[in-house]
Symmetry: none
Subunit: 247 residues, 2 copies
Amino acid sequence: MSKAQESINKPVIVLVRPQLGQNIGKSARAMLNFGLTEMRLVAPRDGWPNPDAGPSASGADEVLERAQVFDTAEHAIADCSTVFAATVRRRDLVMPVVDPVEMANQIAQSSHRSAILFGPERSGLETDEVALANAIVIVPINPGFASLNLAQAVILLAYEWSKRSALAQPPAKDLEPPAPHGELEGLIGQLDDALVAKGYFHPPSRTQATRNTIRTIFSKTSWSSREVKAVRGIIRALVNPPRQRRH
Amino acid sequence: MSKAQESINKPVIVLVRPQLGQNIGKSARAMLNFGLTEMRLVAPRDGWPNPDAGPSASGADEVLERAQVFDTAEHAIADCSTVFAATVRRRDLVMPVVDPVEMANQIAQSSHRSAILFGPERSGLETDEVALANAIVIVPINPGFASLNLAQAVILLAYEWSKRSALAQPPAKDLEPPAPHGELEGLIGQLDDALVAKGYFHPPSRTQATRNTIRTIFSKTSWSSREVKAVRGIIRALVNPPRQRRH
């Protein structure tokens, strides 16, 4: 993805009439955690800049410094083609309702700028503001306890966007591959020898069944070569203690 | 899905040495937004109950009232078979690293209790606490600005769990379930005692690292209770041979 394309695919986060500077700061922090940098503020209650925002942003100052202020939601999204309205409930509007995953898909597929509108802390977006959007996005939450605050709504949608975007890298698999079967056989053979020497297999009629059980147990471990070696060292130590150490 | 099954698939949220009551309250709110209700606290800095927690929970009082307190992370997860350690960075541990989606899949597929460990606000989990887990879960965030607070980490993993749980099918019953964590601890403890007696841990400066390696090796085995018992019998036989048999 080109730099320009990546920038297009980063949704603008629009906070409509936010009340507390703290929540603006927390939203900036939530955004930057997932690589979003463009915040727009519509008629923030206490003006802008707001001295309470910075301390709550925990270092996401670049988001706050670049924030732009607009007088209406309509003006704030004038350059955006794909707009979502984040709400906690359906409205009396005939509009598509999507979940965060579908929102992220639509943003990723959009070849133009997109935006997500968030309403004021208490009341949420006005119906005519929701109507500006192409779709409503609802985070599916516990119907018995729906209590998402502004920054939490921002972080969940930013997270879902980042998963879908090029920025999201799956964690590298630094898992060691399971050891080849021959190495596991070596371990089982060593253990078998030690158990024979210790008189473990008894009575003789049960020996084969016990051996099968041991094989099953050690075949399901998914140990790497390094781990097989370590376990072999452990068995060796249990059977033949390392030479006495000075303490 | 039966009620009991649903309860099993809800991960326990374990806050290890949380510092601020506010953050415990916010975490409870984050949990309940996505239907999680079982919180466990390991040695909360300011004791428990904490008067700062309630106001920050915004009504998630049932989570706080039911919270249980433990003295160590190990005790808090003793009844859990599948344990994830939430960290922001890789550790010097050879352990599986999963993203939140994979974590949610594994929890949904588990037929026994699961838990997610979160460390203290500033420092995160200690390495020996991470080593208790079956896997590390990392939320992929902006490498240039990684600033997730405790409740944000909780809400993102709870959200991801809730998305997967709606689709969760009861796991197939034909495999023996993995042993609860406490049984694995019993095995590791027995092995440790035997290795100490045999002078295996040397030099002392490497002992903790070696212990972590052993814990990691035996935490990935997926052994059932029956198999854990069998391995304990094997260790016993290697250390103290059964009484001499007549051949």
